[in-house]
Amino acid sequence: MDNKGFDEMLATNGPMLVRIAASYEMQPAAREDLLQDITLALWRALPQWRRDASVRSFVARIAHNRCVNHIVAQKRHRHEVAIDEAVIDHSADPHRDAVNHQRYERLQHALRRLPLGHRQAITLALEGFSHVEIADALSVKVNTVDARISRARRTLHDYLEERT
């Protein structure tokens, strides 16, 4: 894949990368660093991408791995901090923006409380990945994905109820 192809891949998957990065790192400067790491890792890993495999799953796998590495390298697990508003696309309707922001923050807060394996599976499900694609992206069996998503959804709803 050449530079143009890489840029196209980034353009297509960029919003997903930012959402995944935001589910691990809420501080804007640290998230920016994390996104740079993900971009570099994608660039390095591209030669290993099999053309028959889904590029979206490949990108998601690299992103989650970099994010796990980011957690490992953190001095300590950070406490929850407010999501900066830059994560949300702004529209002409400030009230709708505020509601979207609140709902997104509530969801991210709940997601970040999930165990790692559940969080990884459910963020990809929220992106619209099929269970087979999630299994491919996370290198686990499909029945593991089924079980994780089912449990994660239940737990997620409990956490969302708490935040209501």
Partner: protein
């Protein structure tokens, strides 16, 4: 369950978090970071042969040439200090395409290697220092004033280097220990998930 938390609504909330995304700026910053990493790696590999040539020259032509193993130990030290971090860096290249478990296990292995490495460097340095001490001592007792000043300067310089190495070793060791603990905790959490899921 409230309808606003239906799966469809959660997916919509999640995807509404689509940020504006400046690819050109991100690419530029990532490229800059990549170039910086390449420069540091290149410097490591340029510096190691230069130090090796200098130390071989010292071993053959200087006072060290009286059979002291110091230059050869220092050559070993230079290469250990070059190759171990390089191995630690390059071993991560394939990690990004592994699953999370493979990557966490590799991280644990790397952190353990890093913790072993951190002991090797100060030990080699102090060993080399201990070997050089009799030579300094001889220069001090049998040399003239100029040689004695040279000994003092060398001792001060070596002490500064040793102090810096100790500080670095403590910082690096703590960092590796923290990584080891975090990776072990995440791996345990992941394996617990698998156990619960089955």
């Amino acid at each position: 369950m409230k309808s606003r938390d239906s799966w469809e609504n959660l997916m919509r909330d999640w995807q509404a978090g689509s940020p504006s995304f400046d690819i050109a700026a991100l690419r530029k910053r990532a490229d800059r970071k990549r170039r910086r990493m390449l420069i540091f790696t290149a410097l490591d590999f340029i510096a190691a042969p230069i130090f090796t040539v200098l130390l071989v020259w010292m071993g053959v032509h200087s006072r060290f040439g009286d059979g002291s193993p110091a230059p050869w130990l220092l050559i070993a030290l230079v290469w250990v200090a070059t190759l171990v971090p390089a191995w630690l860096r390059f071993s991560t290249l394939n990690a990004d395409t592994m699953g999370a478990v493979g990557m966490l296990r590799l991280t644990i292995k790397r952190a353990r290697t890093g913790m072993h490495f951190v002991w090797i460097v100060p030990l080699l340095l102090f060993f080399a220092y201990a070997i050089m001490t009799p030579m300094f001592s001889q220069m001090w007792t049998q040399g003239d004033a100029a040689q004695q000043r040279a000994v003092v300067r060398s001792m001060v310089a070596n002490s500064v280097v040793c102090g810096a190495v100790i500080i670095w070793a403590i910082w690096y060791g703590r960092r590796q220990w923290r990584k080891l603990r975090q990776a072990q905790a995440l791996l345990k959490q992941w394996e617990q998930d698998i156990g619960d899921d089955q």
